[in-house]
């Protein structure tokens, strides 16, 4: 038994990594080292007086330095899609050389691709040609390779994770709901939304980092209850205290979403190619600025084709193995998770932000400023 007691959390500036670093710090019992890709990512862990280090998983020097005295690595960093596999390899290699006693790799249920039905950890991975999912599949393979070499590795597959600090499934969904453009999508968003609240997931990951029987295993960690995506939108909308959601029919939605897709692609290209020119036009012309804002807002607050696929997927990720082996037991109900999410959104100012009083611009006055 070594006297090392440092837990390195990679991606500690991110959503899950941030939750892990904070939880480990608050619970005590281990010295937390928060690894961040670059300094701006330290915003969240730096609220705690914890050890923060630069740990870009593609930077071998930083990876090696981060491993000094580390007993356990919890790898939450994502990086660019094309870096997922190599980044995991770099960390696993360094962990092996430093005699790390446990390596927990946070993967995703996206490795199952588009498979439907009740899926557990015995199901094979399915490549969808999506760089993120494929990167995660390859990273899992590398984890197993290092486990065979003697590094004690555990793989965790979370589904949809929500809660305070979540950009994708909390901030973005709240913004869409608040826009008034989002709604309930009959016959489209009736797929299963496998939601797990952040602190439940983190508890499971910590259990996996300690449980001896977990070594070499892969675990799905799902949430407290199963609901559809439409139910998620409805319940989140209620938690935010917003007006009733509009109901969209599937035929119309599919058509408008398909029509909008090429517009999205053109906008993305224009933004990438002519960002400077567009900004310049927007700065000079009020109407152009308003049109750009309107179109951008519409695109952000209406579903994409990719979203429709996700919202319609009839799949349930089974976490019985985690419950049996790890003693995993999610405790946060959806109602409670959404209440906490809404509270956080209010605290950061997304909900109850300063509302503008201007709805029209009847009069324009010019004032020359000496500067």
């Amino acid at each position: 038994m070594s006297d090392k007691n440092v837990t390195l959390v990679t991606g500690a500036g991110g959503f899950i990594g941030g939750w892990l670093a904070e939880t480990l710090y608050l619970k005590g019992g281990t010295q937390v080292r928060a690894g961040v890709h670059s300094w701006p990512g330290a915003t969240r862990p730096a609220r705690f007086p914890m050890d923060i280090v630069l740990c870009d998983m593609m930077n071998l020097q930083q990876v090696n330095q981060s491993m000094d005295g580390v007993k356990c690595v919890i790898h939450c960093a994502r990086g660019a899609d094309h870096e997922i596999a190599q980044g995991a390899r770099n960390l696993l290699e360094a962990a092996s050389r430093h005699g790390v006693e446990r390596f927990v790799h946070v993967s995703t249920t996206e490795v199952f691709g588009n498979q439907t039905g009740k899926i557990d950890d015995t199901f094979p991975c399915q490549s969808m040609g999506d760089p993120y999912g494929d990167g995660k599949i390859e990273a899992e393979e590398i984890c197993r390779e290092y486990n065979r070499k003697g590094l004690p590795v555990v793989i965790i597959r979370p589904p949809i994770v929500y809660g305070p600090f979540s950009k994708i499934f909390t901030v973005n969904i709240a913004s869409k709901l608040m826009s008034g453009n989002w709604g309930l999508y009959q016959g489209v968003a009736d797929g299963i939304c496998n939601l797990v609240y952040a602190s439940d997931l983190v508890s499971g990951i910590i259990q996996a980092s300690k449980c001896k029987a977990a070594i070499g295993e892969t675990f799905i960690l799902n949430g407290h209850e199963l609901i559809t995506w439409n139910q998620y939108f409805q319940k989140f909308n209620n938690a935010l205290g917003l007006p009733e959601l509009k109901v969209f029919k599937s035929e119309t939605l599919k058509l408008t979403t398909t029509i909008k897709e090429p517009i999205r692609s053109i906008m993305k290209y224009m933004r990438y190619r002519f960002e400077h020119q567009l900004k310049s036009i927007a700065a000079k012309q009020r109407q152009a600025r308003q049109i750009m804002k309107f179109v951008e807002n519409r695109m952000k607050t209406t579903p994409r084709v990719h979203d429709l696929h996700l919202f319609g997927r009839q799949v349930t990720y089974q976490d019985d193995k985690a419950r049996d082996i790890l003693g995993y037991q999610p405790t946060v109900t959806l109602e409670e998770g959404l209440r906490l999410s809404a509270h956080w959104l209010e605290q950061v100012g997304l909900v109850n932000s300063l509302q503008t009083t201007r709805s029209d611009y009847p009069k324009v006055e010019l004032i020359s400023n000496p500067l």
């Binding site: 904070e22 939880t23 608050l26 619970k27 005590g28 670059s38 300094w39 701006p40 330290a42 915003t43 969240r44 862990p45 730096a46 609220r47 705690f48 007086p49 914890m50 923060i52 630069l54 809660g163 305070p164 600090f165 901030v171 602190s199 700065a283 906490l340 509270h343 956080w344 959104l345 605290q347 950061v348 100012g349 997304l350 932000s353 300063l354 503008t356 009083t357 201007r358 709805s359 029209d360 611009y361 009847p362 009069k363 324009v364 006055e365 010019l366 004032i367 020359s368 400023n369 500067l371």
Partner: protein
């Protein structure tokens, strides 16, 4: 002090010799692009940083010939310095320069607390050197216009100020000093809040009385903060966050009208009066942050050359620094029920 050449008097019409001490993100993205508009000054500029790679990178990009790793080596050779260092270093190096009669343009915040800021102001007074502060919001057209409306009481008595800034922190800090225990002078309130509190003190013409200060720090640099204040019957609230992008704006309510502005839309204000909203477009040559930097630097160089007073003298920002100090001294932690561990109570 016998061999010190006081530089408090104008140095003649020749091009001032300046040094930029600190070659991090602010020098790279703000000071050097602005200085590049004035090649005669740039050629006489020395870049100083103890991080050699970054130093050489910037020197090559901007064709600056003189570089130095230790600022002490160039103090006899310059008329003025731009301090673009981690905040905790402003005061000690600033006082050293000012005491030697070297003019100082200091990046915001002027210092990590009011005591240290005052040392700089005193050193400047004693030597006669200029101490200018880069609080750029003071020369953006819309903030200036609000100040003018309030000073002239254009819409009657001031009733309230609400100011909200929310942006995911993405400043490309190279040293990461914001987040390092030994170098940080704390989080968003000291950094982004330095501008916000300065605008408010400047608009009010004095330091407000703190009502409450809450943030999310567990002993480190806070990323979310809320401050409530009062000043001569005007109630105010500041809300800041580094986690979520939200529309950053201010609403200034007066007896006869409400003034609204977007923090990053320098040339427009909206006035709501008698149920109607009108847009004011502000004509100004100041369009970008580099234009602002250019003005601040030109003013600093004119101060060195012709004795012109700084647009933003260091002394003028003491109120805001004192107020931020009070916010920290009286801060309590937000109720954050998502940290539902018993251990939280002990942190």
């Amino acid at each position: 002090m016998s061999n010190v050449i006081p530089k408090s008097n104008p140095v003649s019409n020749s091009t001032p010799r300046i040094a930029i001490i600190g070659c991090g993100a602010i020098t790279q993205s703000y000071y050097l692009p602005a200085l590049a508009r004035n090649p005669a000054v740039l050629i006489n500029t020395t870049l100083v940083d103890n991080e050699e790679t970054q130093l050489q990178k910037l020197a090559q990009s901007y064709k600056v010939k003189r570089t130095c790793k230790d600022y002490r080596q160039i103090l006899d050779e310059v008329d003025g310095v731009i301090l673009a260092l981690p905040t905790a270093l402003h005061s000690s190096i600033g006082v050293e320069c000012l005491s030697r009669g070297i003019h100082v343009l200091c990046e915001k915040p002027l210092a990590e607390n009011a005591v240290k800021a005052r040392l700089m102001v005193e050193a400047a007074k004693k030597s006669g050197a200029l101490l200018a502060a880069n609080y750029l919001g003071r020369i953006t057209p819309h903030f200036l216009q609000v100040r003018q409306f309030l000073a002239e009481q254009s819409f009657g008595r001031l009733l309230s100020i609400n100011y909200m800034v929310g942006e995911v922190f993405n400043w490309p800090t190279i040293s990461g000093f914001y987040f390092k225990d030994d170098k940080s002078s704390r989080g968003i309130l000291r950094d982004r809040g330095a501008h916000v509190v300065d605008h408010i003190c400047w608009w009010l013409g004095g330091k407000p009385r703190l009502i409450s200060s809450v943030n999310d720090s567990f002993g480190g640099s806070e990323a979310v903060a809320e401050v409530n204040f009062e000043y001569q019957g005007c109630a105010g609230q500041i809300r800041l966050n580094w986690f979520v992008d939200i529309p950053s704006r201010f609403i200034v309510e007066c007896e006869q009208a409400t003034i609204e502005g977007e923090v990053y839309d320098y040339h427009r204000l909206w006035i709501k009066k008698s149920g109607r909203t009108s847009e004011i477009q502000l004509k100004s040559v100041t369009k970008t942050q580099i234009d602002i930097a250019d003005k601040i630097i030109t003013n600093f160089l004119d101060g060195i050359r012709y004795g012109e007073q700084p647009i933003i003298p260091g002394e003028d920002v003491l109120n805001s620094i004192e107020f931020v100090d009070e916010c920290y001294q009286n801060a309590t932690r937000f109720n954050m029920p998502w940290y539902s561990f018993a251990e939280v109570q002990n942190v």
